[in-house]
Amino acid sequence: MSQAADATPAAAPRSVIEARDLCLTFATNDGPVHALSDVDLTIRQGDFVSFIGPSGCGKTTFLRVIADLERPTSGTITVNGMTPEEARRARAYGYVFQAAALYPWRTIAGNIRLPIEIMGFSKPEQEKRIDRVLRLVELDGFGKKYPWQLSGGMQQRASIARALAFDADLLLMDEPFGALDEIVRDHLNEQLLKLWRTTGKTIGFVTHSIPEAVYLSTRIVVMSPRPGRIVDVIESPLPLERPLDIRESPEFLAVAHRVREGLRAGHSYD
């Protein structure tokens, strides 16, 4: 696989996201909340990076900063060498939220068409892309259905297809499978890994599930709250080819153990 070749040091993949001393403080009625504190992180092309930590650790905030949905208070961050705002205008990323947020008045195909319609792609090009991404998330044949006719897992796949439709190299996913049951979740994790390997995209993935983070990622960023900061960055020793039963292997359990240790060390129970 070409991914394996890219991963060798000789290929030296370029960095997609570089954050230096990133801080973000929200002013609230109860005083300032330090959502991000001195975050340093580099995400390289083709990485699958998971952000894991308890609520309030700033994992979602960090993703939103990358997406230019929040502005950092201090520090610098670049996305593809640009500011987040420039990157957003250059359609550098697709964003997947916890809820599928499909428009009930549009069919599945219509929902996927929405961003590429806004971006001004031609009609035939739109059709081509809709067909392609529907196949990519294994929803071919469901284009004419309305969202309420699909299960939650299928809806979330449609929202991933929507994020893939305009060829952004970067996919930002904020607990995309958090609201689904575990069986559906396993299946979607498998599908997502396959999709990542075939498309070669860079993925930033927020989760609070340790098995999910370890199973999916090439790197795991462990975060802790008050103030939101990075406590550990783990390079996964697992091979790129990952059947579901890899989760029983000693390597997998070792990584999971280290993530758990990181979470325990960083978590202040006050």
């Binding site: 230019d68 949905l69 697709g94 939220f97 947020a101 009930p104 806004i118 305009f166």
Partner: protein, 290 residues
């Protein structure tokens, strides 16, 4: 099956209302019958007196069959161009209602769009919109008629404006809620695609507000009819259902009043049903249906 099941309760309620109505008519019209008998110095049998209460010319409360007969007489048995025709008066009121409804809906939508997109408008216009509805329309209508008459506007437009005044309000309130109904995630998504304000409006806010719009339009249509009827009262009771109501009360023609009331109620029910149907068809075609 489902028809008969839903029809039975409705018919039961209607039957109960009719029964109560007849009993009330007998009770309320009885004193006059008693007076008449006493004045004539004759003794009238109870059953004849009861029959009399249901056949008076100017009863306190007309019996249902009298109202039905009056409606029949003034619709089916009159040319619709005749001033005695309820259809003629109904159309006068309906035309003002529809014009006012269109004005009110347009005004309501414009205000809602402004309020949702401009914080200044939200803060400055919204309180006035609400205050406008606290003024009794009965107090305001004659002044609107008089002022517009002074500048040469009479007939349809002043009545339609009173309808507008009543009908824009539910549209503003419903549309503001509807245009604000997209949640944070949907707005964030639009931002990640760098959608313009116009795109966000036409592709997200506008379609999302459609169910709210149709709910508001039903209320607006009924309010608009009330506005048109109220607007017909100070014009000297020339034409329209409002005029029939007023003329009826001048001359003690209670049967005429009730007939006009029922005509107005039927008109309102038809309008609301029509909008309900349009709403269902539109929403189903948009894919909201479930």
């Amino acid at each position: 099956m489902s028809w008969t099941r839903s029809l039975l309760p409705i018919l039961t309620v209607v039957a109960a209302i009719v029964a109560v109505w007849y009993l009330s008519a007998v009770a309320l019209n009885m004193p006059w019958e008693r007076d008449q008998a006493a004045r004539a110095g004759t003794e009238v049998a109870f059953l004849d007196r009861v029959a009399g209460t249901l056949a008076q010319d100017r009863p306190v409360l007309p019996a249902p069959h009298q109202v039905v007969a009056e409606i029949w007489k003034t619709t089916a048995e009159q040319k619709i161009t005749s001033k005695r025709s309820l259809v003629y008066h109904g159309w006068i009121t309906l035309s003002a209602t529809l014009l006012g409804f269109v004005f009110g809906t347009a005004l309501g939508m414009l205000l809602a769009v402004g309020i949702v997109h401009s914080r200044a408008m939200d803060l400055s216009i919204m309180p006035w919109v609400i205050a406008s509805q606290t003024i009794p329309i009965l107090a305001l209508a004659p002044m609107i008629i008089v002022v517009l008459n002074a500048v040469g506007l009479k007939g349809l437009i002043p009545k339609a404006l009173i309808s507008t005044y009543l009908s824009f309000f539910p549209v503003v309130v419903g549309m503001v809620k509807g245009l604000r109904s997209p949640d944070r995630i949907q707005l964030d998504l639009m931002r990640t695609w760098s959608a313009s304000g116009t795109q966000t409006f036409w592709k997200l806010r506008w379609p999302a507000s459609t169910p709210y719009l149709f709910a508001s339009l039903k209320i607006a249509a009924a309010a608009s009819l009330v506005g048109a009827i109220v607007g017909e009262m100070p014009t000297g009771a020339v034409a329209g259902l409002g005029a029939r109501l007023l003329a009826g009360s001048y001359y003690g023609q209670t049967i005429q009043i009730w007939a006009a009331l029922f005509a107005a109620a039927a008109l309102a029910a038809a309008l609301v049903a029509l909008i309900g149907l349009a709403g269902r068809v539109t929403l189903t075609r948009m894919g909201f249906g479930r």
